[in-house]
């Protein structure tokens, strides 16, 4: 094999656009190397990942100029089918990349497609799942797994054909620290077998010690390149200047410790709980909660998956009934119905929360104070999108539309569920600023997050849930 990954003056322009998205990319990757490509959203990372695994230009179409080779397959000439045995891909969204319903079938899928004998498929599944430590998941239904578990299966599935190249396209976006650790271990094991691994990531911290080279994409070009040693020398501030997330999370973790609530009952609290237990009739998830949330403050809710953050959020916002205990607003007990009227839970996926055909109509839907529409549009930088269909906006813009409608509906409690998962540094900062602005309207703001950078810098206090 002469060319593992080689790009010579590669440019790529999407259909119906006037400018090339990728401009003059030159990259050479050798066998066994692990490189990481980072950069802001829209810098061309995803576009390049699709050229690497053959999805572009054949399926996500566009014009390719220059020469690109993946495992000696030439982009634009080789069929996607030729890439299948050589390149494995793992994608960002755990919910939409599995073709089957259970783990066994998902792992069997690539081998079935290549016509492998069923007996051998079974052997391979056992072999690979043991090697990558997912054998305990084999008898499970994918719809009952956590995001981290789904990604683990996706990982193994991508490796069932023993590809020489593995592409990881922002695979940790939705995962908590524990899940990221498990992914990290998998990558280390695969690297030890000599696989060439290309990682596209915003969350850099977990890649220390795995990646050999770091490449920065900016506006469709390669702006800079570092060896692992050079990159590890960069301080968090230097990384931020480059538009990248922190590498060293220790400082952030210290900050978080400082912000942990020492005393949990404050007389000024707008929203508080007394001896609250949340969960289900047969299964209490959290117990004895005496929490307090102040108006005009951002409280972070941290903890690994499965500790009950979502259940707590559902209960505080009135979606779910509490099991025992009380929830108080201004020191008066409130009912589930009152809580729903006061709250808005901004979910991770904006697609479920947008109902209208224009930003203006969306924000006015259910609005209590429609007269403030113009001010709100201005404050959230949405004026120019007034007549646009919400679904045509970027994720960040959609998020602001949802927030605007919550505000105009007079919601006093706003809870965010993983608002910055998958966001680059700049957008994470923008969101943090947005949080600060929200504080001025004296809302109770709660943020459920895995994002330690967000929590350490932008939360006023933090509640940490443990298993």
């Amino acid at each position: 094999m002469t060319r593992m990954i080689q790009s010579n003056a590669v440019s790529f322009q999407y259909l119906h656009t006037t400018e090339a998205f990728l401009k003059d990319i030159n990259i050479n990757v050798n066998k066994g190397e692990c490189i990481l490509i980072c950069g802001a959203s829209g810098s061309g990372k995803s576009t390049y990942s699709r050229i690497l695994n053959g999805i572009s230009p054949a399926y996500i179409e566009g014009e390719l100029s220059g020469e690109h080779f993946t495992a000696d397959l030439r982009a634009g000439e080789s069929e996607i089918e030729e890439y299948v045995p050589k390149v494995g891909s793992v994608f960002q969204n755990p919910k939409t990349q599995h073709f089957t319903v259970d783990a066994m079938s998902e792992l069997a899928f690539p081998l079935e497609n290549t016509g492998v004998d069923p007996e051998i498929i079974r052997e391979k599944i056992i072999e690979k799942s043991e090697a990558l430590e997912v054998d305990h998941l084999l008898d499970r239904n994918l719809f009952e797994m956590s995001g981290g578990e789904k990604q683990q299966i996706a990982f193994v599935a991508a490796n069932m054909l023993e590809p020489i190249i593995l592409i990881l396209d922002e695979v940790t976006s939705n995962l908590d620290q524990e899940a990221i650790e498990r992914i990290r271990n998998m990558v280390l094991k695969l690297k030890a077998t000599g696989q060439t691994i290309i990682i596209f990531e915003h969350r850099l911290a977990w890649t220390r010690g795995i990646v050999d080279r770091y490449l920065l994409f900016d506006d469709g070009k390669i702006k800079k390149e570092w060896s692992a040693d050079e990159f590890n020398q960069l301080t968090n501030d230097q990384l931020h200047d480059l538009g990248l997330r922190s590498m060293d999370l220790d400082a952030h973790r210290e900050q978080i410790q400082l912000k942990l609530k020492a005393s949990n009952n404050s007389a000024n609290a707008k929203l508080s709980t007394k001896n609250l237990a949340v969960g289900y009739l047969d299964h209490k998830v959290l117990n004895n909660l005496d929490l307090s949330f102040n108006a005009g403050e951002v409280t972070g809710l941290l903890g690994p998956n499965g500790t009950g953050k979502s259940t707590l959020a559902n209960t505080l916002s009135g979606l779910q009934e509490s099991i025992t205990g009380q929830i108080l607003w201004d020191n008066k007990v409130v009912s589930k119905k009152e809580l729903i009227q006061k709250s808005y839970l901004v979910m991770q996926d904006m697609n479920y929360q947008l109902f209208s055909d224009s930003v203006e109509n969306e924000i006015l839907l259910g609005a209590k104070h429609p007269e403030y529409l113009d001010d709100l549009l201005n404050a959230l930088n949405l004026s120019e999108f007034r007549d646009r269909h919400p679904m045509s906006l970027s994720e960040g813009q959609k998020q602001r539309v949802v927030i605007a409608s919550a505000l105009l509906s007079g919601k006093e409690i706003i809870i965010f569920d993983e608002p910055t998962s998958g966001l680059d540094y700049e957008h994470m900062e923008r969101f943090g600023n947005l949080l600060s602005d929200l504080k001025k309207s004296k809302n109770v703001i709660i943020v459920i997050t895995h994002d330690e950078e967000l929590a350490s810098k932008w939360c006023d206090s933090i509640i940490q849930l443990k298993k």
Binding site: Y59, I60, D357, M391
Partner: protein, 201 residues
């Protein structure tokens, strides 16, 4: 977007067809749930009526996303296969397949783009679900024989069945027509208001 320039349906479009057929199926199940509550036993004949009212948007979306011959036929055939699996009259499957191919041909002639043409195609497609009702209307002899055995007057029974069957058939044909026009136009409005405006199609 993943639309292919090639004329034949590609694999990726099969996946889209599967996704949209799943939603069509769910709407059909929803319609079944609603009709059964009205007059048990008899009203199940009117499932196609409610389905055609509700499913317009999905049909229009699928035609916009996969404007090639075969998508509509496949959707109808899968519904037909479902009839077979739940033990309905096997002719229902054949009817579903034939009518959906017909609907597909009509849409094809209008290049899957002309609004009136696609609406017409949807109206025809809406009749593909009447298969299970056919025995009730065209082969009432099964039910008649037993009544006659029980001693009812043969001529009387035949008369009853004939008139109710005709009556039912007319109501069915007319209401599917009306509802599919309403549902289809609603679907096309949704296309313009949301999917075209958002750039999805």
């Amino acid at each position: 977007m993943l639309e292919s320039k090639k004329k034949k349906i590609q694999l990726k479009e099969h996946i889209s067809i599967g996704v949209y057929t799943a939603i069509y199926f769910i709407i059909c199940a929803l319609a079944a749930g609603l009709t059964v509550l009205i007059i048990p036993g008899y009203s199940y004949a009117f499932i196609p009526v409610i389905t055609s009212l509700l499913a317009g948007t999905i049909y229009m979306l699928m035609v916009a996303k996969v404007p090639k011959f075969g998508a509509i036929s496949i959707m109808g055939s899968i519904m037909g296969i479902f009839f077979l699996i739940v033990g309905r009259f096997p002719g229902a499957t054949v009817i579903a397949i034939v009518i959906s191919i017909l609907a597909d041909v009509i849409a094809y002639l209008f290049k899957y783009r002309n609004k009136v043409g696609v609406l017409f195609s949807y109206i025809i497609f809406s009749y593909s679900l009447i298969g299970p009702v056919v025995p009730m209307i065209f082969f009432p002899s099964f039910y008649q024989d037993q009544l006659i055995e029980q001693g009812r007057d043969a001529a009387y029974i035949e008369g009853v069945f004939q008139s109710v069957s005709e009556y039912t058939l007319i109501i069915l044909v007319v209401s599917i027509l009306i509802m599919s026009v309403i549902g289809g136009v609603f679907g096309q409005r949704m296309m313009k208001k949301h999917f075209e405006k958002a750039g999805i199609v």
